[in-house]
Amino acid sequence: MSDESSEENKPRAIVIGHGDFSAGLVSAVDQICGMAGKLVGLSMMGLTPEDIEASIRAALARTGARVIFTDLPAASATLAARRIVKDDPGVVVVSGVNLATLLDFVFSTAASPAEAARSAAERGKASLIVVERS
């Protein structure tokens, strides 16, 4: 799913979360718009905090991605990502990612990574709606 070879399909973000969360989200993006190549999904299952951080750093270095999407603010991946931001202020972290967030992000090709991340986060928040009979 993740074709890092072509420039237009170059990864712009890492997605990491619990269980198969990232694989599921990246797969969903691919099904909807075929742009999974913009994302690199990582799992943190069975990893120490040090290994999670090393895994994210390696993916950032390999792909040139500057945005890290994580599932929960309290996740080990979020803490690891915040450590990376401390060392590299050009990296942006968005926690609480959902499908609407990622879809907005992969289409924001003209924006800088930080601008794309902020826009995507707003779209993700707005996608949470409650529907009930009045």
Binding site: H18, G46, L47, T48, P49, D51, A74, T78, R82
Partner: protein, 162 residues
Amino acid sequence: MGIHLYRIDDRLIHGQVVVGWGQPLNIRFLILVDDLVASSDWEKELYRMAVPPEMEIYFANVETAIRDHTRYAGDPRPGILIAGDIDTMNRLVKGVKAIGSVNLGGIHHRAGRAEKLRYIFLTPDEELQLKMLEGAGVEVTAQDVPSSRARPLAEVLEGDSK
């Protein structure tokens, strides 16, 4: 109320602790016992930002955790005490006789450790430390989340593959 769980978890504050245990036990405070974290304002802020607003977090090194344990244990709210490794919990137990049980929540793979459970990897020395902890009268079980079964130390050391 007071401390409901004494947990060894190398990820310290994370989803399993804050949500997995925090929600069903209605946890309202966490005590993170770690000498390194307690000595760093940046590390403390990092973990503080991972805790939801309804939870309070205290940071302590082993020495201050022993000193303040009576206060934590007497707190009317339910709480969890977390240490990142076996050695830290062992030192705490030596100074606090009231600790009757310890939960192994996550000790992940690194060089020299062998897999015991999906989320528990131990060196021979760590196995020995846990046996000594149990020998001192502390019940040691492994349980990553509340919905899984608490597995006694003997079963943990036997491992899933045997």
